[in-house]
């Protein structure tokens, strides 16, 4: 039993319980004699809260049972490997968030090229040819299909970036 799973189930209990408190206000919405806005969410959230509480109890019981055995079992290599995996996922998530935040400001083309470069670096791609070609090639293909052919109004950015984007779509 991973400690993280206990934390995740506790977060689920907290989240669903919090949403349940929000539902109480919704129960007042609706006309007399009708099922109001809050009834259906109440059903879903009561079930979700009960199930997540049951999951938490099961996880706590399993954690308490396995804790004495698990203590001191993890090797330094395993711990380093786990941190390396977390670092790669963390970097990937940061790249995606940065891409979404930057896109409206610097436009689709530049943000996409920047995203591809940083994302493939985060995936430990080190081949210079791939690093040099991929951002340009993928962005060009995406622009041709989605901006030119399907005409999705991709973000152009602001100021000088918008002027740059208008060269292409």
């Amino acid at each position: 039993m991973k400690k993280g799973e206990v934390v995740f189930s506790a977060v689920c209990v907290g989240f669903f319980a919090l949403m349940l408190t929000q539902t109480i206000e919704l129960l007042e919405q609706g006309r007399a004699g009708e099922v109001g806005s809050g009834f259906w969410p109440l059903l879903s959230l009561v079930a979700a809260t009960a199930l997540s509480a049951l999951w938490l109890v099961r996880n706590l019981a399993a954690y308490a049972r396995e804790k004495p055995r698990a203590a001191g079992e993890a090797s330094p290599e395993a711990i380093a490997g786990a941190w390396d995996r977390r670092r790669k996922v963390g970097l990937s998530v940061a790249c995606l968030l940065g891409y979404i935040v930057l896109m409206p400001w610097i436009g689709f083309i530049l943000s996409t090229m920047f995203f591809i470069l940083t994302f493939i670096l985060a995936l430990e791609e080190r081949r210079m040819k791939v690093l040099a070609i991929s951002p340009v090639l993928i962005t060009a293909a995406i622009i041709v299909v989605f901006a030119k052919f399907i005409t999705i109004p991709l973000p152009k950015g602001v100021g000088i970036f918008a002027a740059f984007s208008r060269f292409f779509y």
């Binding site: 995740f8 009708e34 099922v35 969410p41 199930l51 999951w55 994302f119 985060a122 993928i138």
Partner: protein, 498 residues
Amino acid sequence: MFDLYWNAFGTVLLPQNILAICMGGLWGLLAGALPGISTSMGVVLLLSFTYSLPPITAFCLLCAAYCGGLTGGSITSILFGIPGEPSSVPTTIEGYALAKQGRAAFALWIFLLCSIGGGLFSVLVMMVATPVMANFALRFGPAEIFALVVAGLSVVSGLSGGSQLKGFLSCFFGLFLATVGTDGITGGERFTFDTTILLGGINFVTAMVGLLAVSEILEEAEEPFKEYKSAVAYRGMRDELPRLADYTKHKFLLVRSAVLGTVVGSLPGGGATIASFLAYGDAARSSKEPEKFGKGAVDGLMAAETANNAASGGSMTILLSLGLPGSNTTAMLIAAFMIHGMQPGPMLYASRPDIIYGIFVAMLMSNIFLLGLTVLAIRLFLQLNRLPYSSFSAAIMILCVIGAFGLNNNVDDLYIMFAFSVIGYVMRKYKMPIAPAVLGLVLGDQAELSFRRALLIADGNPIGLVSSPISIILLAGALFSIVYPLFKKPKMLSKSVE
């Protein structure tokens, strides 16, 4: 009637109409395969091309795009683990698992032949039994629709993998997500926290792209560096042709799924998603190897794909006979009728039988042509698999971003997609099944609206939910579907221990 069919074949087989079927089919395959570009969006984008076309050519184009979209959604599901359509989720689970075992081409053949088989079956049913099925579907009120959706949701027990508890928790999470936004009946805001970003609710395509596609890429990012995407091995379509025995072994399941898909597709609010999930759940329950589900069950893939495409004929039946849209895409087709000065429904039989029979034949020819067109499309998509893995992941990630953005051309949707990507990643880490959450999100809105409408009609009396034999049968079936695995599992476990 034979004269009408003869004339319809003569018209549809004209070169311009054949070309329209090929173009529409390829476009539909592309729209269905690209995540975030739905079949309905593909049909909408084609509408503007049909203004200047003769009506029958326009419907050849649109019907082929509809059939292609339903088929194409499964190509990316199997090759990349990304469902192009909500109805492709069961295909993603089983097809992608097969692909990861090095049986991508085998899974593609299974999907292709079952899809085409299901599609052809439903078109034949549509041609023969349209009046009968339309009459049956007319009896469905909100209580029956609610019972139908509950039956659709009951397949969660089959999708939960190892833990029923986590499966149902995931499903209720999805049902809760479906309540976010503006209430469809009172117009009040729910769980929006005074933000505009959540006012329109959580679009299931945005959530699905994050939960299923981006989270998968994030999970794969944990793996050590690899030069190419090695998860899916492909040896070539010819080397992995399935044997006839692969199909005959599951003949009853195939027939059952085709019938189920056609019937569910014909019900207003039914459609391919419920059909594929119901057939998949049915396959999981009736399988001799239930432990294979989630790990590449061929029968699960067959059932889902057959029912998925069989829904098209059912939806079209209701559209043509009653003028009711059975799915989002058939709702878009109503617009096409209006563009050409027609109103689908019983009167259209009397006024324009050439169009009705032309559509029957166009649907039939579209399914036949899709056999070749899909092989072409598969070759195209398999080339993508030979890209360097890192670039491939980046390209898929960008497709996901565009898919989420392109729905409303709104950057806010990207933040929702991002949030669901992280949620999906955490769910994967702790082995919480994602498919039930997607199912809850997709069906939740419909379940709530039909539930509240049924109670409204019954003056708040809950007996109104079980007032007809149809709803009683459907709800009893749903209850059985939920309870049965709970009793079946210990027996299976004890067998394995023995």
